[in-house]
Amino acid sequence: MSRKVGIVGVGQSAFVRTYPGSIRELVFESFREAMKDSGIARTDIDATVVCSAPEYDKQRSPAGVIAEYLGLNPQPTFYAETLCSSSSTGLRLAYSLVASGLHDVVMVIGFQIMSQLTSVESQERMGRGADILWESPFGTMMPAYYAMHARAHMAKYGTTPEDLALIRVKAATYGQLNPLAVYRKPVTLDQIMDPSSFLGAPVAVPLRGGDCCANADGSSCLIVASEEKARALAKKPVWIKGIGAASAPVNLAGRDRLYGLAAAEEAARQAYKMAGITAADIDVAEVHDCFTIAELMAYENLGFAKPGEGRELIRSKETYKEGRIPVNVDGGLLSKGHPIGATGGSQVRTIVLQLRGEAGEIQVKDPVFGLVHNIGGVGLYGNVTILGLE
């Protein structure tokens, strides 16, 4: 029906606690890598999508200052946002801008600098990320929302805190290998199960420190192109085979269940349908593990495990690199850190490198299809993207 769209360049900055520069300078780091990766000229870029979670730094309308800094005028640029899945939304828009014929090459920039706000300013903004009328006045936080999901999952399926801890142990196994990750230390099950340790201390019961990813500063950059351009530009283009998106009510009062994310499930359904494949065809995946429970729910929402059997997958190590369906073998958000707007782009970059066979120490064997699962808010915005070779 519409034009085939490929990814021809990927880049990511180091994810760090505190980037010593402005957003435009941080974005440049991943821009440079993506430009060098693609080998294209700046003037080949027809449009730029700039993605972040809003209000974590002080520059309003960042698309303008970033396009200027990267020398991307007079090409159009705009800002797109779905909280933590902003750059997956950006990729979907880039896909549509190319598939529609409006553009041939579109760049997707994701970024976040949270370190320049004071902790109080940052918390105040997080409060206003929920529904400011009906949720924020209760003193809600992301860990607590996900903890409610963990509680519901445990009640329905018998999932245990140990199961969740095993996901963090896996993340740390690979995070140690990722030079761009913010957290590169090993983590043991004992550490997370010990309430007196930093990793075991309760944050929002039943989630502990080790169940939560850390804030970070970082940027990511993707370059997508029409089939014709992709074949001309890229040694080994990676194709967007399926790209699904869905939403759920912000307020949990509008949800029909807490033991899974309906928006993720719906986005996956769309992506599989568009790609013409099933979960069994996925060779490597990046899922949105902002909290350990989020990865566990992803296993089930994406069809890697049947409902309630996600814990079997991690217990049997089937989501390790050598397993049936390797998940987050770059360390995931739990190890890389979560520079909100940059996260989706970083996930896509990992899958692109895997499909090209350029993933180094974490390379899985001959993958053909890879999947990215990127969630905004608490299952508010669900995005699933399937990439493939041919």
């Binding site: 003193g139 509008g254 807490l258």
Partner: protein, 143 residues
């Protein structure tokens, strides 16, 4: 309507207020009268909690209030050990979702219910209450 005539009662809701103005400000009046209320579309009968001033089902803006009464079932909950700015003195507290059948209600568990007594599926009832800083809110108590 001039700015100073705005009905800003909604600033009285919750430990910290983030929003001043909605078209369902009467929610606050009902809380003051001891009632937790949602809205129902007069035209098509759809119920809304949180309350809404307009109905997305039939596009009508004619709504009536109903009371959140009876018992609901606990769907999920979590006790916070850390809290956002403005809430830190209340830690620990427990947020929860309670299912009333036709609608669900998100809020806090009353401090009178120990965390150890909570379990998914148990019955709870909502009650109008005051926050630790004396402002209007509602909580879930033992049914």
């Amino acid at each position: 309507m001039a700015k100073n005539e705005l009905d800003t009662r909604f600033t009285e809701f919750g430990t910290v207020s983030f929003a001043a103005v909605t078209r369902v400000n009467d929610f606050i009046g009902h809380l003051e009268n001891g009632k937790l209320m949602g809205t129902r579309c007069v035209k098509c009968g759809k119920t809304f909690f949180p309350p809404r001033a307009q109905c997305c089902e039939c596009l009508s803006a004619e709504i009536e209030w109903f009371e959140v009464a009876g018992e609901g079932k606990l769907v999920g909950y979590s006790t916070l050990q850390y809290a956002p700015t403005g809430f830190t003195e209340e830690v620990p507290y427990t947020i929860a979702l309670v299912d009333y059948g036709d609608y669900k209600v998100f809020g806090r568990i009353d401090a009178s219910v120990p965390e150890a007594d909570l379990a998914v599926g148990m019955t709870l009832k909502a009650a109008v209450s005051r926050t630790s800083n004396g402002r209007l809110t509602y909580v879930f108590k033992r049914a």
